[in-house]
Structures are given as C-alpha cells and as structure tokens.
C-alpha cells in the first residue's frame, strides 16, 4: 500500500495533519492578535523611547552638521601640523554660513567645552571676518589670534567631527576626553558622580540587607501561625504596602524630627539628654530607616508565599531524625526558602536602586542618589542627553543584577502577594 492511502482524511477530503496544522496556525494568529494591541502600545510608547535615550545619549551631530565643509576638507589632514589653506577656507565658509543663521554662538560654546578659549577667538573671528579679503584664508585667520596658529585648536575641531560621542558616559563616570583626545579622570575634588554611584549602591545594598533581616522572621511567623492570627498580622504588612509612598515618608519626617516622637522617647528613657537630641533626619540614618520600612512589604510578600508552600512535616521529620531545631532550620527549612529570598532581595534591591522620592525628602544633602541626579538634569539643567546616558548606565546595572539573579536562583514569577 502506498503512504497516500494511509493518511486520514477529514470530511472535506483534506489530510487531517494539514487540517490540524491550519487550525494550530489560526489559533496562533488569534492569540497573537489579542496580545498585539498592548505589545504595540508598549513598544511604541516605551521600548522605542528607551532606544531613543540611547541615540540621544551618544548624539553629537551638532558640530558635524555645523561645519560640513570643514570636516570634508579635514579628511585628508593628518592632524599633526597646522591644516592646509583648503581647511581654513572651508572653515571660514562654514563659519560665515553659521553667522548668517546666527548660530555661530552655539558653535563657540560647544567648541569651548572641547578646548578652553575657543569661544573668545571665534568671537574675534566673527568681528574681523567682515573685513577679510578674498583668498589667503589661512593667513588672515592666523593673524587674528595666536591660538589660531596653535595646532591644538584645530585638533579640537577635528575631534568633534564624528556624529557620535561617548563623552556623556565618561562624564557619568567622572572622566572626560582631554585635549589629546585621551580618556582621563577629572580632578579628585570634582568626582561627584562616582560618589553618587557608590552611595546609591551602598543604600540599595544595606536597605536590602535590613529588609531581609527584618522580613525573614516575620514572614516565617506569618507562614507558620494559624490562619486567624496570621490574617490579622498580615494587615500590618499589607496596609503600608497599599498606602501612598509620600504618606509614609511624611510620617517618618514627623517621627524623626528633632522634637519628634522617636527623640522624645530617647530622652524619656534617658538615652540622650534633652539638649542634645540627635539629628535623625536629613542624613543617612533617616534614609535607611524610612526606606527599610517602605520596602519591607516587598521582601515579606515573596518570602511568605514561598514559606507557605513548605510543609511543616519536613521540620518534624528533621527533628525526629535527631536534628536540633537550629540544625533542622538551617539544613532543611532555609534552603527551601532561597527562591523567596532571591525574589524578595531582587525586588527590594531593584526598587531601592531607582528610588529618589524618599531619599530626597529625608536624606538631606547626603541623601542625593543617582536618580536625583537624573531628575535634576532632566528638569533643571535640561541636559537630556546626559540624563539619558546616566539612566542607561543605571539600566545596564539593573540588567546585570537580573542576569546574576537568573544565574543564581532562576527568574521566578514575581508574586504580588
């Protein structure tokens, strides 16, 4: 018998296999069409803009577009000696075109960042060039100021030729391109960003540790208590969870102020005297205390949902086999809770690293974190490309944390309690 006749046919005479495949395909398309609206929405409004952050952060087309002829002429220049007459002439043409559009000021400011003193000599050029004669651009420009005779200034222009730059990322790490185009660090007393990165990491790390130390016992208690007690205690976790972040920050501001209740209590038990009540707000203490309380539910909920699935008979088995309560806990119970610990720590760490509302309110000057800096550049200095660069550096860090987490624990479903 040939294989043709073995095939089972549907009532339409189509082989069953093919018919099933068609139905499968139809179902696939149907499922995809359901997801499509949200997927498109997220891609257009969210994923693309993150991509745009990247192009914005490396974008340096301003000078490239301002001096097209100059860069064309510079292509053949080796960058060691002063450039040829051709380059000077092209530069003069470009600069005149810019002056007509009244954009020459922007060029001056941008080039001044590359090499100090550029703005002054360009202004001078702008004043003098009206009286320039035809030809011999090199000679006439060089006669204006001695800096035009210095090859370093022309090298600076050449450095701005590529349409892309990594300088914003370097700035985020307190580095910059020096006059020779090499990457160097800024002076020690101006390395502000590195301090911020370290502080952000430090705060996120310690808040995670504190949350773990406080969250683990209560998650264990909630998971082992009978339902009627645990439900009541769960309110203590869930009510802060659902309460506005700003409300909780406000309550800490009241508690921690110098005349606040915490200080009153310390005075009352005689820990400190009434005259020297300690500052507990506008410093790191305030940040740690408030952030730990605010993020604690995010640690407790995943831990609880994992602990809830651990059968109590396991502990009894361990004990009946001769383990002391401590050994049984450490060898049996604790390893089983690791997925919960992983999820909780990941959640708290990620949330803490991007936090800025609470640190900004209770942290004072030492409470500024990297997110504050991003917000500052977005809203105040309007250096959006720098804000984008720092945001992406932070995002890279977060993705690395996810990657490590995935290697160590495996990405579990994030449970919302």
């Amino acid at each position: 018998m040939s294989s043709e006749t073995q095939k089972i046919l549907t009532t339409d005479g189509i082989p069953l296999e093919e018919s099933l495949r068609k139905a499968e395909k139809k179902n696939k398309i149907k499922a995809f069409l359901l997801v499509a609206p949200l997927l498109l929405f997220i891609i257009i409004t969210y994923i693309f803009p993150i991509g745009e952050m990247f192009t914005r952060s490396i974008d340096d087309r301003m000078v490239t577009n301002m001096l097209p002829k100059t860069f064309k002429a510079m292509e053949t220049w080796d960058g060691k000696e002063l450039p040829s007459e051709e380059v000077f002439a092209a530069f003069l043409t470009d600069y005149r075109a810019l002056a007509e559009k009244k954009e020459h000021g922007k060029l001056g400011q941008r080039l001044n960042k590359e090499k100090n003193g550029f703005n002054t000599i360009l202004k001078k050029l702008w004043r003098k060039m009206k009286k320039f004669e035809e030809g011999n651009a090199k000679g006439q420009i060089m006669a204006i100021h001695k800096r035009f005779r210095d090859v370093k200034y022309w090298q600076a222009i050449k450095r701005t030729a590529p349409p892309y730059t990594m300088s914003k990322y370097l700035k985020g790490m307190d580095m910059y391109y020096n006059e020779d185009g090499k990457v160097v660090q800024v002076e020690e007393d101006r390395r502000i960003h590195r301090i911020l990165w370290l502080r952000t990491l430090e705060v996120a790390f310690f808040v995670t540790v504190f949350c773990f130390l406080m969250g683990y016992p209560i998650a264990h208690l909630l998971a082992t208590l009978p339902m009627k007690y645990s439900n009541l205690l769960m309110i203590c976790v869930l009510l802060p969870f659902w309460t506005s972040l700003l409300v909780r920050t406000a309550s800490w501001m009241i508690l921690l102020q110098q005349q606040g209740i915490v200080n009153d209590f310390f005075v009352w038990i005689g820990l400190v005297s009434d005259e020297n009540r300690p500052e507990m707000m506008y410093n790191k203490t305030g940040t740690y205390v408030a952030m730990t309380q605010i993020l604690l539910p995010f640690m407790v909920l995943p831990l609880y949902s994992v602990m809830k699935t651990i059968s109590p008979s396991l502990m009894r088995a361990g004990k009946s086999l001769g383990g002391t309560p401590f050994i049984t806990f450490w060898k049996v119970y604790f390893p089983l809770t690791i997925p919960g610990i992983g999820a909780g720590c990941l959640l708290v760490f990620i949330l803490a690293i991007g936090y800025y509302i609470t640190p900004a309110l209770v942290g004072g000057a030492s409470g500024t974190l990297i997110s504050n800096q991003i917000a500052f550049h977005m809203k105040t200095t309007l250096d959006w490309s720098f804000a984008s660069a720092m945001g992406l550096m932070l995002l890279t860090g977060v993705l690395v944390v996810y990657w490590i987490y995935n290697k160590l624990v495996g990405i579990d479903n994030i449970k919302l309690g």
Binding site: E24, I43, P240, L245, V247, A250, A375, G391
Partner: protein, 284 residues
C-alpha cells in the same frame, strides 16, 4: 504558638526572643501610619503633640486642617484631587482593557514567543521608575502631549498594564478551558462566551489588577513630575511640593484621608483574593 511542655529552657528563651523581634518589626511597619492620625486633628500649627493633646484636652483637637484642606484659600488640594481621580480612573480603564485582552492571548497555549513577549509587557514594572520616567517623557514630549491629562494617562497606562497582565494571567492559569469550549459547542460566539463565561470567572483577577493599576496611578509621582504642568497637578505632586517646602498640618489631613482610602483598597483587595481563590479551587 504554645510550646510543648518538654521544651528545653534555652529553646523556650529563643522562642520568646523570636516572638519579641517579630513584634518589634510589626510595630515598625504599622506604627508610623498611626502617628499621622492624631496629629492631623491638632488645633495648633506645630507638628508635635501639644501639652493639651497629651492630656486629651478636647480643646487641643480640631478639624481646622480638614477645613483648610477643603475650603482653604488658593488651596491646590481640590484641583489636585480632581485631577488625580480623573487620571487614575482613565488610566485604570485603559490598563484593564489592554492588559486583560493581552493576558487572554498570553494564556493561550498557542501563543508564540511567550517568554520574550511577557518580558516586554512587564518591563515597565521591572525597570527603575526614573528610567521609565525619562523614556516616557521623551515619547510624550515628542507627540506633543506634555502637560496634558492625556499624556499623564498614557504614562500611567504604561505603568499600570504590567500589574493587570500579571494578575489576570495568574487567574487564568487555574482556568478550566473546557467551559469556554462547552459554550462554543452550544453555539455561542467568542465575544458572547467571553462576556458571559470567561469574564465573570476571571473578574476577581481583573479587579485586583485594576486596583493595582489605580493605586499605581494615584500614588505615582516620579513620572508625573516630568510630565505635569500647572493645570495637571495631582495629589502626589502637591504632597511632594508640600513636604519639600514646609510640612504643614494640612498635609497630614490629606495623608489621613489617603490612609483611609488605602484601608478601603486593602479590604477590597483581600476580599477579592479570597473570592478568587475560592473560585479557582485553591484552598490553603
């Protein structure tokens, strides 16, 4: 948790130490919320308990800050509350519709590229808020919706949908698909099946997703700070400004109202969770 009689002394001590530690942590979690409550009824302008309050003197308490919150001159709270509710309601509706439909597709076993699509859809939840804020701001500014309600609503839909997707897919994971097949075999069209069979069954998941979306929008301050103009001020923005400039008792009155609101949300969410577990047959 009573200990058995034969428990040795040092375990007994350890056990009670453990309970004490837990007690302190629970206190640490919940107590700060209750500080705001009495202080919002303070008759004086200071944010400390006055002598009168400590003596429970009725004259030391008043509703003046609540009065100020509602009727105060040049008071931003009315406008802020209105904006917050409008934005949160529309953002919730948008998130719920987009998120539920997407969750239906994602729960289908025929869905291709499930992992990567799921990761994309919930990415606004796992990326730090400040980065989302910058990205969303670029989009909203580009399409010219900065400082409009619509712009903020779109931003909050982006932030709210992951919660709806997660809660609804969780509800659907215990969903018995034979009921929809039964409906189809009885001649119901897909839309009718969804409205009459699927939706009522997954409703608890949808509503708890909606609650998450609502609270996210209602409490969101990072992204709104980038997007809002003077006319779009919301409660979180007013709180943020107030807390930065001067902590006034009026803020505490607002905060008290918000705590009451969150208590309501908590109760609703808990009731829904239990109902959902009952429907899905999960009984722990």
């Amino acid at each position: 948790m009573a200990l058995p009689k034969y428990t040795e002394l040092h375990y007994r001590i350890w056990h009670y130490t453990y309970l004490t530690i837990c007690g302190f942590v629970f206190f640490f979690l919940i107590a700060p919320l209750f500080v705001i409550f009495p202080l919002s009824f303070n008759a004086e302008e200071f944010l400390v308990f006055s002598e009168g309050m400590k003596r429970l003197d009725p004259d030391a308490f008043s509703l003046r800050w609540y009065h100020d919150m509602v009727y105060g001159t040049k008071n931003p709270w009315g406008l802020a509350a209105k904006n917050s509710f409008i934005i949160a309601v529309f953002a919730t509706i948008g998130s719920v519709i987009l998120g539920t439909v997407a969750a239906l597709g994602l729960s289908s076993r025929h869905m291709p590229f499930k992992g990567i699509i799921m990761a994309t859809l919930i990415s606004p939840m796992i990326v730090p808020l400040i980065i989302s804020g910058v990205a969303i701001f670029f989009f909203i500014a580009k399409v010219g919706l900065a400082a409009t309600h619509l712009g903020i609503i779109i931003a909050h839909i982006i932030l709210g949908t992951p919660f709806v997707v997660i809660t609804v897919t969780a509800t659907l994971s215990g969903f018995d698909h034979s009921v929809t097949r039964a409906a189809s075999s009885l001649g119901s069209d897909p839309v009718n099946t969804f409205m009459k069979i699927t939706l009522p069954l997954i409703l608890p998941g949808v509503i708890s997703g909606a609650l998450f979306a609502f609270v996210t929008s209602f409490d969101e301050v990072v992204v709104v700070l980038f997007l809002a103009g003077l006319d779009n001020t919301t409660i979180p923005i007013q709180m943020w400004t107030g807390l930065r400039e001067q902590l006034s008792p009026t803020i505490l009155a607002v905060a008290t109202c918000l705590i009451v609101l969150s208590t309501l949300v908590l109760v609703t969410a808990e009731l829904l969770r239990r109902r959902s577990e009952r429907i899905r047959g999960i009984n722990r």
